[in-house]
């Protein structure tokens, strides 16, 4: 878990931005759009090229989150994606771990710690922080968990499931 956080921080430092699209561009990950109805996005490794596909029907905030999530797969699980393990439905349980790790990565990449703590000091609720920082509430809670690991003492209402991107709105985020 700590290496996921360090990895996300490292990328932000290296490219001096939290914009996942800019980071993907700098890392030579190609972002493409598809007209998916329920699928939110996927990551695929084809012939030495890394691709992220995002649904063009999502709004801007969601596209940003999906891009960060898939970028997490690229950075953390590329070897698994190369081996084709991530589309294998036989190892269902490990897929959940990968999704969870990608969500932690996305939360750390998108949300600035000081901005979060600034909101928290104003007694904002998680929903208010999410609205303020333009991300999903689930990611804000994950960020809270990360900060607690780093020694803060924040209230965590519940722990989002690894497939929150899939369950909450009856939509899907796949890593392929």
């Amino acid at each position: 878990m700590d290496n996921i956080i360090r990895h996300a921080d490292g990328l932000v430092r290296r490219f001096k931005t939290r914009n996942p699209f800019e980071i993907a561009d700098n890392l030579n990950v190609l972002v493409r759009y598809g007209d998916f109805e329920h699928l939110k996005g996927f990551y695929k490794y084809i012939c030495r090229n890394r691709f992220i596909a995002i649904s063009s029907r999502s709004d801007e905030t969601e596209q940003k989150i999906v891009c960060s999530h898939e970028l997490g797969h690229d950075q953390l699980h590329r070897s698994q994606a190369k081996a084709g393990l991530m589309s294998d439905y036989d190892i269902y349980n490990t897929i959940d771990v990968y999704e969870l790790e990608a969500n932690y990565f996305a939360a750390q990449l998108l949300i600035d710690s000081s901005a979060f703590l600034d909101c928290a000091s104003k007694q904002y609720t998680y929903a208010q922080i999410a609205a303020e920082l333009k991300v999903h509430e689930e990611l804000v809670i994950i960020k809270g968990i990360i900060l607690n690991r780093q020694g803060y003492n924040l209230n965590i209402p519940f722990v989002p499931a690894s497939d929150y991107l899939g369950e909450s709105k009856n939509t899907y985020s796949l890593c392929e």
Binding site: N26, N28, R32, G34, F36, I46, R48, G84
Partner: protein, 134 residues
């Protein structure tokens, strides 16, 4: 649905065994088995034409989107292209079989992946092994 599944459906509806179909179109029963398992795709147009005549369907229906993808990869990049296309297809098929992908998105998903494949091949050709920008 992939080429192999369509072939198997047609053969079973016609109440035919793999051996019978094989002798009609001039390939062994084992090869029919490979076709139906989607691990191989007919090399000759003639084989496809013969199959379509046996079951009285169009070659276009028989080949389908997935077959056209394989044929195009074969035309442009030869044997290795064909193999890569088949590998991608079997990945996609495993995902479809996993049942996680809603029916409505399957076509778009497949189209996006095939577009990515040709884009990847094109950029590999253009630049060779690419360097990082940083």
């Amino acid at each position: 649905m992939l080429f192999g599944d369509r072939l198997k459906n047609l053969r079973e509806t016609a109440n035919m065994t793999q051996v019978e179909l094989g002798s009609l179109i001039g390939v062994s029963d084992r090869v029919i088995g490979y076709y139906e398992a989607n691990t191989r795709f007919p090399r000759k147009q003639e084989t496809l034409r013969k199959i379509s005549e046996v079951f009285n369907v169009s070659v276009d229906y028989l080949v389908g989107t997935d077959g056209r993808f394989i044929q195009k990869a074969d035309e442009q990049y030869g044997y290795s292209g064909k193999r890569q296309a088949q590998e991608i297809l079997s990945d996609v098929k495993a995902l479809f079989a996993g049942g996680e992908l809603p029916e409505a998105d399957k076509d778009d998903f497949f189209r996006t992946v095939t577009e990515m494949y040709f884009e990847a091949k094109k950029s590999n050709k253009k630049y060779g092994r690419r360097k990082l920008k940083h």
